[in-house]
Symmetry: C2
Subunit: 361 residues, 2 copies
């Protein structure tokens, strides 16, 4: 098991000072996570929210690159339809250099109507804009592998470039890992086929997580991609409690959060909020038990979602939960490449058990 963060600064938009404090506390949170051994940060990017969500994610991540040493710096996600793809490729490559190769590039086509309206871009164009942008970004990086000059041209529907080179080249070759948030079988198949890693959302239930990972693994096998358990990252809300008195309030908070973001759920949520298996909600022992269920399903790369970005919650998790997984943590970063070509039809959990046995022998 390995643990990371999913989230971002959020400020009450208003005076610059308030905005600044929102960013500062988020930065402190990430620095502490780095110190505690968290492996990933995936930071959201949104525009025009009125709630001070991070809009310039590469700018914030570049600052964090200088303040941290080990944690990987991810976007979740850069919505490509708003961006000139060559400028994205330059920014990501620059961040990759500055961070010593710690970048994970999460990309998306966007889902918030208000953002499309703000940019005056029809949502109906999202997919074709995404596809063209990814084509340009990949070309910009892989051109360095194909010729000494790294130059290429692109003439598409929205973007035109003549004889350009994306500088600098990223440190990770040919480029940083690409991540796609996906939930439906079709989108998971596409992520596997097109070489993406998989971000699983914070609302999906435990059994859904298991099914999605199994499908993704199967499809990666079909696409000839070597399997590594860390090609999937699973966002899970963290709401640890330390006594029964806190439980009702925690579920009430959960209910409120689901009310706000529930429209994003890709599958039906349980009728009774207390049956919701998505959050890591409970005492440390209960959180450990929930994580063991996820681990058994292959979800060994967990991104904690704490909307308060609380350093205290992070420290409590590191103290009370992470030690239970210390023995298996090393294992999860061993690439499992080349070991699953014959396992395609097998149950994902069973496969992982076998691999673990092999490792421990």
């Amino acid at each position: 098991m390995q643990f990371g963060l999913f989230g971002g600064a959020r400020t009450k938009r208003g005076t610059g000072l308030e905005d600044s404090q929102g960013y500062e506390s988020f930065i402190d949170y990430v620095i502490e996570a780095d110190r505690l051994g968290f492996k990933h940060l995936f930071m959201v990017e949104h525009h025009f929210t009125g709630q001070g969500q991070v809009s310039a994610s590469m700018t914030v991540l570049a600052y964090l690159a200088a303040r941290t040493t080990r944690i990987r710096l991810g976007t979740a996600v850069v919505v490509l339809p708003w961006h000139n793809p060559v400028l994205v490729a330059e920014q990501v490559a620059t961040l990759d250099l500055l961070s010593g190769g710690r970048v994970d590039l999460g990309v998306g086509k966007g889902y918030r109507q208000a953002e499309f309206d703000g940019f005056c871009i029809p949502m109906a164009e999202a997919s074709e804009r995404f596809d063209e942008a990814m084509e340009v970004i990949r070309k910009g990086w892989t051109a360095h592998e194909e010729s000494a000059s790294g130059r290429f041209s692109h003439h598409g529907k929205r973007w035109h470039y003549d004889d350009i080179v994306v500088e600098p080249a990223p440190l990770q070759r040919p480029h940083p890992p690409l991540w796609l948030a996906a939930g439906s079988p079709d989108s998971i198949r596409r992520a596997a086929r097109d070489g993406y890693n998989l971000l699983l959302d914070q609302l999906a239930q435990t059994d859904q997580i298991g099914r999605r990972i199994a499908l993704f693994r199967e499809e990666c096998g079909k696409a000839g991609r070597a399997w590594d358990a860390n090609m999937v990252a699973t966002a899970r809300p963290l709401q640890m409690i330390h006594g029964e008195a806190e439980r009702a309030a925690a579920w009430a908070t959960r209910k409120r959060v689901v009310g706000v973001i529930g429209d994003l759920a890709r599958d039906a949520l349980p009728a009774r909020i207390e049956d919701d298996t998505a959050p890591l909600l409970g005492t440390p022992d209960e959180v450990i038990a929930r994580l063991r269920e996820l681990e058994a399903l292959g979800a060994t790369n967990i991104l904690l979602v704490d909307p308060n970005a609380s350093v205290a919650n992070l420290q409590a998790f590191a103290r009370e939960v992470m030690p239970a997984f210390a023995a298996t943590r090393q294992q999860s970063i061993v690439p499992l490449a080349g070991t699953d070509r014959g396992d395609r039809g097998e149950n994902s959990t069973e496969t992982l058990r076998k691999l673990r046995d092999e490792w421990e022998r």
Copy 2:
């Protein structure tokens, strides 16, 4: 007098490792400049050069914001025709927050044909694209002053936005200082009229610098702008020598540099390279003398241009030149606001002498 830097990382493009080293040495250079009391960094941004010039300037400056404490972080320049202006406004405001209000935004319409060709944007559209982008960027920031929501719309020739808000708001209100590189009388008048600070280029001769500052000051007066000597920054190549044996080689280097960048000169260069008054070329005493000439003309905010970004050169300058100006350095950061309304017709040098006298009394 105060001193800063003008330049940027430049790498032999190739393997990621080489690129990375180019950035690392530039970062060390800026960190040392911050330690030595340099006031400004103005960093260039270019695309598709094949020489590894910085392309993602805000990303690099955000990293530097975390590694420095006092030096101001400037762009020189963001070429607006390539950028979605709202994304620029978001990035700059984010950098301003992260740096504690240390951002200077230099903007330009672009001058390199190869960049326009690369982006497939006709150079003939540069001015209108620049104008529209600046309109959007200014709106994005000043809208925070005009309503609690900070929301606005824009429907122009190239860009459309509906009911958006640029988040975060910058820390410097209403926005970071805007800088324009200008040399011709018309462009200097425009910079003064439109509220820009003035970047003077590294090729202009000392007497040209004096005339440009005098004109800018006069035009700022006409526009009702309070005068501050630090509204002008003058780029000067640094080529300090420590013995006659080095002089010929220094002029040879100068000749080569002018050969490469001379096409950018806005005025005729001297026929004999040794008559070129632009570089700070000579022994420490000669460099001090050249700086005293500039100081007398009102050029009290000098940006050193050292294409090698050499820490040793920086330290030598700080040790051998800066102490000569220690007495006047404090003075130059005192805003001269409100003192020049009656001086418009006067000789700029004379005016500055009077002000200095007033200050020293």
